[in-house]
Symmetry: D2
Subunit: 460 residues, 4 copies
């Protein structure tokens, strides 16, 4: 999935009880880089002072050895962020740190609070000040305003007010607390690392630092890690879990266990089912790399159409890439993808992608394949049509920009100039995940939590 699609969401990680806490969080963030490339930060504590470093850029560019050395202590939490908006953008990076009546506290957040604007308005009306535009600052304010004596009680009270998605890691002077919203929209996993514990968005973080995967933090669970060990609370009203199906479709790394399953396996199932539902007579099937690779393998397996790696991706695309001067025409997707004409030429080509957002990238890919000599181009999408924006942490365009929201499949096919277009059906998708409950709002519009009027801002 390229360019004109969803921005990726955030990644979080935390380590408790290891003298290399900041180093281990650094490695974790590095393995979660695919969840956000615009900024990152780590906050650590030596159980007295808090140390914070955050900046715009990639994890590997933000932290140096001397910076990591300054992030002292045996507890640390970190965050990868995807978007930069507003002049005040460094203020929006995480972790956020604050001094409140319950002591010093730091927080990282993956998700989106749909009633954020309303809560913020109430807080502002009663005298809170906001120095960033992140949901996380709202959470800190709620905790600070809460009259409960204990921090844990205050956290529970505060989070109970929130509607939306949140996988959070709090850090205090003596503890690390992981929380997942009652629907469990965003993932969060728990592991054992040497003498301590680790929390992270995906299991790949645990793999890299050689931590042992214990289990997922469950929807609605609050995991408190301190010197007494781990304590688990389930203080929220129980609701049906609604994990985000898009973690399987696109976001998470294929080598991660998300919601109990390897992403690779589910993603391949999607591809298989896509082949069953949308067969086509063709010579080769190729992925839009890298996100389309696994589904394409599934498609190939069922359809018996040979898999080829017909589009080559340039991985050196960086944040700072300069568009050429205006007299050179816009290169768009060519900066990232280039076809292999000898594979494509004279062939009937099936090209598999995970989703279509605005349709402009798909249109360019079809054009590129035809110019490389494809006789036919059949686009196959390993998810249902994306018709509705996400309010739970994925940066989608507004509804009217989502091509499937305003066009039929036949119209989309014409727009992207493909010979045929097939999507995975909603029913097919659910069968791949054993008909377990998921949030499918982006396909159906059935948003599991009421959200305010109008379109919410989408934050991570």
């Amino acid at each position: 999935m390229i360019f004109d699609k969803f921005h990726e969401e955030c990644g979080v990680a935390g380590v408790y009880g290891d003298k290399d806490a900041a180093n281990l969080v650094y490695l974790s963030l590095y393995s979660l880089q695919h969840r956000g490339q615009e900024g990152a930060g780590i906050c650590s504590t030596d159980r007295h002072n808090f140390y914070l470093h955050k900046s715009l850029g990639l994890v590997a560019d933000i932290f140096s050895n001397s910076i990591l050395k300054d992030l002292k202590g045996d507890i640390a939490i970190g965050h990868n962020r995807y978007s930069t908006t507003g002049a005040n953008n460094i203020s929006n990076t995480q972790p956020i740190f604050a001094e409140i009546n319950k002591g010093k506290i730091a927080l990282v957040h993956n998700g989106n609070i749909v009633n954020a604007s309303q809560i913020k308005k109430e807080l502002v009306d009663s005298g809170s000040i906001f120095m960033s535009t992140t949901d996380s600052e709202i959470i800190i304010h709620l905790i600070a305003r809460n009259s409960k004596k204990s921090l844990i009680e205050a956290i529970i009270d505060s989070l109970s007010i929130l509607k939306g998605a949140f996988s959070l890691i709090f850090m205090t002077e003596n503890s690390m607390i992981g929380v997942r919203d009652p629907m469990g929209v965003r993932p969060l996993v728990l592991g054992k690392i040497r003498g301590g514990y680790i929390l992270a968005s995906e299991t790949v973080a645990l793999d890299l630092v050689e931590a042992e995967f214990i289990r997922e933090v469950e929807p609605g669970e609050l995991v408190i890690i301190d010197d007494d060990g781990i304590k688990s609370l389930k203080p929220f009203e129980k609701v049906e879990p609604k994990p985000c199906i898009f973690e399987y479709i696109y976001f998470a790394r294929p080598d991660s266990i998300i919601f109990g399953k390897y992403v690779y396996d589910i993603r391949k199932e999607f591809g298989k089912r896509l082949a069953v539902e949308n067969p086509v007579d063709a010579d080769i099937v190729i992925p839009v790399p890298d996100s389309g690779v696994v589904a394409t393998l599934g498609y190939s397996e069922i359809s018996k159409i040979p898999y080829e790696h017909g589009l080559i991706r340039n991985h050196y695309v960086g944040r700072t890439f300069i568009e050429p001067s205006q007299s050179i025409r816009h290169f768009g997707v060519k900066i990232k993808l280039n076809p292999v004409p000898s594979i494509i030429r004279g062939k009937r080509v099936v090209v598999v992608d995970d989703s279509i957002v605005r349709g402009t990238t798909s249109r360019k890919i079809v054009k590129m394949l035809r110019e490389a000599g494809a006789k036919e181009v059949h686009m196959r999408i390993s998810s249902p049509p994306t018709k509705f924006p996400c309010f739970y942490g994925i940066d989608t365009p507004t509804r009217k920009e989502l091509i499937a929201s305003t066009h039929t499949i036949e119209e989309i096919k014409k727009y992207i100039t493909a010979d045929s277009l097939g999507y995975l059906s909603l029913k097919g998708m659910y069968e791949c995940v054993k008909n377990l409950p998921f949030c499918d709002a982006c396909f159906t519009g059935n948003y599991p939590t009421m959200y305010g009027d109008g379109e919410s801002e989408n934050k991570c």
Copy 2:
């Protein structure tokens, strides 16, 4: 005045009603660089959005043309900051910006609130969160918590609670507000610039941007600048003004008008009076450059001892200067000062400095002069002995580190190994300023505003 003395305090500036507002604030901060060299920032508004850039470093290094271009709008405020403490230091740079129930607001602050800890504690207790350790954040919280409908009323209420020194510039979407505390501890001046207005810590800022000096903002005055022009309020209880005498002694630039007088003139008076009070038979009188130059001219004029520029200062000392490896011994004051032996050799030398803090620098200077061949070294200080820390915005060491607090003049003389040591008397100092009231707490311990128990943190 060098190294082991007071750190310098902050500088503030604001421009209203000029399309080059950020550019003009940039130049103003540049001319006020002597008031703080550790960080700077500018916040501007196009009357809708707020644009903010702040960083550690010197003004000329922080802002580029493209950054200034992004600071859009015709209102802008800026700040020079002197100190970097804590891991969270970028959070402590100013301007600070917040969204509150009265709209968007930005603030710069020169001074120190002595009851900050107590107010902060109350705010935190009732649910405010603190993301920096600046007094300025306290002020924003007080305004946000205030139930008054109008911003101006809320500002007045909030500032009425504060004890201490504050020269502030607020910026809202449609106005710029300058305030000086009732005692007028820190300076703040008002000028006319092309179609608009300018506020700044010192008149040198007005000189550089070719603004016309209107007058000082008066102690206890609130100046509101908006599209209707200037409005002046004096809402605070009237108290005796207590401007900081150290602005004359050391802080302000000699070419600035502070408290109605050119600093140069007062500083020269100090030197003259010092000569009257502390005569000595000597061959030459030399300054500790640059701050001692003007007083030395006064001393020379009265004493008839020839002025020589016997210590040469290296002005290229930067923030990033690297101390040589441990095997090379500590160079201390030598990095900044070097004597001219041909002037010093065989001479009885009077050396004039503005103050002595810990005494270590003075001791090194005396040693340096003796090694350059001075027959006698007589230290003269153009202010009374500094015995008490400042709680109003100057970063002094604690009382026990102030040598004059624990040693007699005779003992100090011995410590710094001078042949004689003479300070300006308090009475003499006051006569130089026509016996007008000033804050002289650093000499007398008579703090004009009650401050809490123990030693306050000193912030700018």
Copy 3:
């Protein structure tokens, strides 16, 4: 291919006769980033002055819009460099520029001159000075020392002395000259771009800037591009071409045409033949991504063993990645690769890589797959055993570090702890390339050009 293997060699590009010359070279270098990631540079001319910018780092990080704007003129050449050795490393980046008796000249070079040390010695003995350690500086000296009046004649004379590999692009005030050594070891292609011409290491550069591929510069050919058009010379003694077979095996991008064939096609043939020569009963075949992907597809096609993408690569590995502190053990290949256990577990796995250098990476990969649950691990290599170092532009370790130079295949199998190990045979490899002549010295030790005694330094 990962970590402990060959470093990649250099990439070159040049554009003549387009007002966006530097911009187009920038894009070309970007598409050739896989040929060298340690530094890059561009030199341009407005037919009077020469403009040069070069630095360490990735192409996308080195050039900004304002830098590209400063690289004026309608001729430009550029270079991607792979290695940083010595304190003087910026001096070793290219293009190199010099003023000589034939005017101003700039040069980029891909390849390695095997008699460089000897020529350098003679030049130094007769008074030349060397300010870098690149072969390119030797070439400039030879041209300067040459007594021929015309630059072209001097270039021809100078290059005639060289033994080894060189794909060169020269730039003068009025021309761009491409040269390939008589054996044609390194690739160089020619294209038409809008009003002008383009030279580049690989056709992917032409694809990105939408240039039309004309043909390869032929072995021993000198292509002179100026305002009179293109002129071709073949001034060198004709020898049998010996293009580098490793361009097919690993270096070039699969979507490039190298030596007349798409790399993808040849690489897939290698995989097919590997399957024929080294069959094994297994459940899945997986690549070491990204370089092993295409050969793995070939292996799968012939063996009918299903292809899976069982190792996931993290593409965010940057130049600045920090190894964790010593108390965390060395992560090695884990930083780049992570297995998908659900695909691997209980399976007999064939893993296909393009080559084995020291064997340490292969050993880690086998271990990683076993820990992920593989029942058997069969390593297959899509090239013959690499026994000899390269002296023509590839940065190989010395002979004794090449595991295949000192160990039998059986011994290597044991070292890497695989259940079986199979290499592509030399005969098989040649059949894949229609038995055309290639340089196969790294497999056979038959170096096509005599090289000096001892091991040469390997430069790009």
Copy 4:
């Protein structure tokens, strides 16, 4: 002396036989920063490898602790550079390093070779290549081309060909060699530092690192420092010394011993003599800081006109200072200087500067003083009229831009709008320096060494 005047020339330093060699050279360059602010570099050797770091910027910004640590070895040389011209500017920073037939060699150079173009042409004609535009590269080429077996003989032969000014420090694997041209135009001093030796442009470098001043390197002397100690050669034909009088007038720091005298003493003599030759009835005499300070003290002493520090200089002017947007008018000298009106108002002011180049700055200063209320402004210059460009290392404008070259003193007075203008006479100047021989070409046009036709480029 400000803005529109001479750029400053270069500074050099070298340390032999101290394990902190690079550190000590760093400190030395720091103390010589006034001789060049545009770039700096250090090259060191551990008697086998050479380590080089150079960059544009100030010394304190270029070197970090880790960079200094990488500059290994007990010999190091360094350079401060003043100018950045051409696209290739990093190539022009020094030290320059080269590998030649006599081994590895590095070089720093202060001065200017007037027959550089001619020598370069001959070298280029016979096959040398030039990768920078510095004179230093010429010197290296000459040494490399020389057929003498020994490096010292080759150096002597090569330097014998040069006409112009050169204070050089060479570094080889085992020695450091200091050379001063036969006329001794630029300074170079020798000192003892701990176990080793130091060479530097001025004695202030020795003061800072606490080295003991031994003596100046004499005009025409070659000082060879190696493990056998110091050896002195005087191989060049003896000519009358012609040290640059401008070192006394402006360049050198007042606390340096140059040509056997403290600069401060000579500079003060100039001021005294200026007062004798150009008396005027006035109320105060003020310097153009900082360079005019010492001469002003001399003027005041003789004239009995009180010295005041009437112009305040902002020392924070950095390389990166941004001129405000075009709608704000050009601030010129105001960025650096601001008058003290209370000192100036109603006064007859003598203002002392060291020289007038184009006259534009003097004109602005006079205007500034009048606007501050001066009743009369009398300009006094502590050197004779500057009528001729320098070809020996000072970056002067061309002759026609030098106002004194085309205007009488009366005309200059009118141009700068002063009430009177007086220069130090040539005779007076010489009497201040005991009528010793100096290069006075900038005043008289009597260039001591023949230089080529036309105006030479001026390099450091």
